[in-house]
């Protein structure tokens, strides 16, 4: 790795095809150029330029710190995305040194100042080893001028550490110390049509045919899947058209082929010439037509990978472009969510107790089918739409270059989330108890009396009898329970957990601010951030920026709401199963102490339909923790646990682990809330907590966002948090550093007995 290696190599420099220096893409394009193929002119910033940049900026250590916080195997996709976002921010925060700026200037001397350029990744080995890693790294088009090129180069370098690349880190051999990235800067070629072409059918490499796809305009539209292409299959030997399929595009000429026979012939000729040059069958990106065909990229065809069990491919499919996101926004916000809301309400209104056995069985099956359908929609539409928030994050950071890569979160605020409305309703009830000490005392007395066996209707009647002014509270509680708590958490209906909620209300009523809505908004206001963004992008991109913000906001809101709305359907299934189980139990056709859940649908439906079936037995299912503490041997105890600093601040308190519905009512104000993940169903507990510790990591998850808004320290991504920490443990949660210290702040020193 001598320092005499060049920082820049022009694409047309003869013989400079060392892939270790220029990366795979540039090496192949340089070879094609030298062989006489039409390739957009340009230059390559070599891997040495990357090395110089990361060394000068101290980025290697930053990457190692980011990726070394916990084992990558323990990191969820959201945490990997967070790590990539912060690494990207680190790259953007560092400017190029004088030497590198001069190098870029030298490369740009060959271009007119107004030339539009494409700044493309050229990673080492990304198109080799029988597998293409196309799309893991970034390419930026439409770049003009020195500063814009420098910015784009840093973004492309940062994409060596994109979330996608981190997912494939093993296959890529990604390593903070040794990995490097070259960058290709090329003149953009504007042509009427572009496309991809394969020297052999990638679906069946043995077929003697080439496949050509074409779209109007730039190739990126096809590669990003934004435009449906015309599709040809040609005989490799004769060039005859075997098949033609027109693209489904919303344009006037969608039935006329985009390419004529001579265009197809030239693409075929070029493909076969490239194949001859390299000795492998190429997958080629091209632009232009016969007479002006330009090769944009050539790499070996890789056989289609069986990704049926490949969840990473699914994750990568979530990275939708703005057009797709907007389509999805319309579909989700205007069709799916209202439909889901209406269904939940309709099911909740059904009087199941009045149904005969057969209609009740039908109702149970219909609910189970509805849940299955909506869970599929959840994966197919809701989760991909959640990408809208991530798109907003990168868009905002690229434009504003904020020091805090999560500053954009302020843009998501002030939306009427279902969870916020629920928390407002809970806050109102708590305030009533704070203002009426007699009522609160009456509830506390009754809670002591009914502890463990509380049924709301009985409790309500008793409360009305002994407490003046209980009517308003009771009506409010009924309303809140029906509107917001007819949902499931941990396979149980929160609607049936009135004792827990009443205990939470008592605690909230004694808190300094009984309202549990997000009043103390931290950071800059949404309006200020919006202005900051619009100023940064300028008037030309104003509309685009507003669209990205709106999609991000809707995405965030619905991502929170959809959980609760699906949980409402689940609650309706449990309600129907409860009605059926009660009926069957009374008839002696159901036994056991367990409560029915979704695994009992078939047996209960059968029992309702056929009186001759064997009685159903519901076993009480013991809940087994999914994870185990890392501290299992005698003498082993945690002292300091690390996670992500998800909300700043330091707080000391005793641990209360929330592992299921039974724990909700035990939460006391000032305790440290420790759980696997803060669910939208339990966010009302957050205002009671002095701090939050979660196993699930991420800066954009419910717990982190709410904690930041309420100014409560939060550390998340703590491995096995709910299993490692025990109720009553004294912990100090440092939300600045992402550290949870276990034990008293005043440590026991080693004052042990002297041995004699």
């Amino acid at each position: 790795m001598g320092s005499n290696r060049p920082l820049l190599i022009p694409l047309d420099a003869p013989g400079q095809w060392d892939e270790q220096l220029v990366g795979g893409k540039a090496a192949k394009l340089a070879q094609l150029m030298c062989a006489g193929f039409e390739v957009p002119r340009g230059f390559c910033l070599t891997t040495r330029a990357y090395e110089v940049f990361v060394k000068e900026a101290g980025i290697t250590a930053a990457i190692r710190m980011e990726l070394g916080r916990k084992s990558m195997e323990d990191m969820r996709w959201e945490e990997i995305w967070d790590a990539a976002l912060r690494i990207r921010s680190t790259f953007l925060a560092q400017r190029l040194s004088g030497l590198l700026r001069e190098t870029v200037a030298e490369g740009l001397r060959g271009f007119d100042a107004s030339t539009l350029l494409a700044v493309r990744s050229s990673a080492i080995g990304e198109d080799s080893a029988g597998r293409s890693f196309a799309g893991l790294h970034e390419s930026i088009i439409g770049v003009r001028g020195q500063q814009a090129v420098e910015d784009a180069v840093r973004l492309v370098w940062a994409s060596l550490w994109s979330d996608a690349a981190l997912l494939y880190r093993r296959e890529l051999g990604l390593d903070p110390v040794h990995s490097r990235m070259a960058v290709l800067v090329q003149e953009m070629v504007n042509a009427d049509s572009s496309g991809v072409a394969f020297a052999r059918d990638p679906r069946n490499i043995n077929r003697e045919c080439v496949v050509i796809e074409s779209v109007p305009g730039p190739c990126g539209l096809l590669v990003d899947g934004l435009v449906d292409p015309d599709h040809w299959e040609l005989d490799r030997k004769t060039g005859c058209i075997i098949a033609w399929l027109p693209g489904q595009r919303d344009d006037m000429q969608q039935h006329a082929p985009l390419l004529e026979t001579r265009d197809l012939e030239q693409i075929l000729d070029t493909l076969l010439s490239v194949e001859q040059l390299f000795g492998w069958s190429p997958d080629m990106e091209w632009t232009g037509k016969s007479g002006s065909l330009t090769v944009l990229q050539a790499r070996p065809i890789t056989a289609a990978v069986s990704d049926e069990n490949e969840k990473r491919a699914w994750y990568l499919s979530l990275r939708l472009g703005d057009v797709r996101l907007k389509e999805l926004r319309t579909r989700v916000a205007e069709k799916l969510i209202p439909e889901l809301q209406a269904l939940g309400q309709a099911l909740a209104a059904e009087e199941l107790e009045l149904l005969a056995d057969l209609p009740l069985a039908d109702a149970i099956e219909a609910r189970a089918a509805a849940i299955a359908r909506w869970k599929k929609i959840y994966w197919d539409d809701f989760i991909p739409f959640a990408h809208g928030v991530r798109r907003l994050a990168t868009y905002y950071n690229d434009a504003v270059r904020a020091q805090d890569p999560y500053e954009f979160v302020g843009l998501l605020r002030n939306q009427p989330l279902v969870a916020t409305q629920r928390n407002d309703a809970i806050g109102n009830l708590a305030q009533q108890l704070a203002a009426n000490v007699m009522l609160r005392s009456a509830i506390e007395r009754l809670l002591a009396e009914y502890a463990g066996s509380l049924r709301w209707p009985t409790f309500r009647d008793a409360l009305m009898q002994i407490a003046d002014g209980a009517g308003e509270f009771v009506r409010g509680f009924d309303d809140m329970n029906d509107r917001f708590l007819d949902i499931t958490y941990d396979q149980e209906r929160l609607h049936d957990q009135s004792e827990s909620m009443l205990r939470n209300l008592i605690e909230l009523s004694q808190a300094p601010n009984p309202s549990c809505s997000n009043q103390q908004l931290a950071g800059d206001s949404a309006e200020l951030l919006r202005k900051r963004l619009l100023d940064a992008v300028g008037p030309q991109r104003r509309e685009e920026a507003l669209e990205v913000v709106e999609t991000g906001r809707v995405s965030w809101k619905l991502r929170d709401d959809d959980n609760l709305l699906v949980a409402r359907l689940e609650s309706q299934l449990l309600r129907a199963l409860d009605v059926a189980a009660k009926r069957l139990r009374e008839l002696g056709r159901l036994s056991g102490k367990g409560r029915p859940n979704d695994t009992h649908v078939d047996s209960i439906v059968r029992a309702l339909r056929e009186a001759s079936t064997a009685p159903v037995k519901l076993e009480a299912t013991a809940k087994v923790p999914a994870r185990q503490s890392s501290f299992t041997q005698p003498g082993e105890t945690p002292r300091q646990l690390i996670g992500q600093p998800a909300s700043p601040g330091v707080a000391t308190g005793t641990v209360r682990c929330i592992r299921g519905t039974g724990d909700l009512g035990k939460f006391r104000r000032g305790e440290v809330l420790v759980c696997d993940a803060i669910q939208p169903t339990m966010t009302h507990l957050v205002p009671l907590a002095s701090a939050i510790v979660e196993r699930r990591g991420g800066m954009l998850i419910h717990g982190a966002i709410i904690a930041r808004e309420l100014g409560i320290p939060c550390v998340n991504g703590v491995r096995n948090a709910a299993e490692t920490l025990k109720n009553g443990d004294l912990v100090t949660v440092d939300g600045h550093l992402g550290i949870v210290t276990v034990g008293a702040a005043e440590f026991d020193l080693e004052l042990g007995v002297k041995s004699t």
Binding site: A61, L737, T741, E750
Partner: protein, 172 residues
């Protein structure tokens, strides 16, 4: 007659060694070691209990001051607040037994002082962030405290047992 196999100066007995005017080479070797090594073992004490912890450090140009940062919810923070007498150990060990004679180490003694936010904090944290840019957010975190160690003495060890002392003075 001098025995040619014995060292010319016995550096092991520091109390008798007039080494405050050390050979300039000693300072250079110390400078080289602290420049090359980013981390040191910080030694603190309290209630007669010694305690050691690894820290990232930076020195002022004149080597009279060292700076480091610790989260406040730590044992070393508590001990630092209790007793200002501290030591650092910095070495270039490679953890191979064969390298014993190649190891250089320096033990630095001094007094620590917590630096409150202000001009001196900016100066000291600047030293640390320049040396460790990836620790910027750690250094500036509200839950961290920055300490400056005013150095009293350097004890440089080479070739297993060859020890030299250097006491920085205002002129050095």
């Amino acid at each position: 007659m001098n025995n040619p196999d014995e060292p010319l100066i016995d550096n092991n007995d520091m109390s008798e060694s007039p080494l405050s005017k050390a050979d300039p080479a000693v300072r250079e070797r110390i400078q080289s070691l602290v420049d090359k090594q980013p981390y040191a073992v910080l030694c603190v004490q309290g209630n007669n209990q010694p305690y050691g912890a690894l820290v990232a450090f930076a020195f002022s140009d004149d080597l009279r001051h060292a700076v480091f940062v610790t989260p406040v919810a730590t044992r070393k923070y508590r001990l630092l607040r209790e007793c200002e007498h501290v030591a650092f150990v910095i070495d270039n060990r490679s953890n191979k037994a064969d390298d014993l004679m190649d190891i250089e180490a320096v033990t630095i003694t001094g007094r620590s002082q917590m630096i409150e936010r202000g001009r001196e904090f900016e100066r000291c944290s600047g030293l640390l962030v320049t040396r460790h840019p990836y620790l910027k957010s750690f250094v500036n975190a509200a839950s961290c405290a920055l300490f400056r160690v005013d150095v009293v003495r350097f004890l440089h060890v080479a070739r297993f047992q060859e020890v030299s002392q250097w006491v920085p003075t205002a002129r050095s």
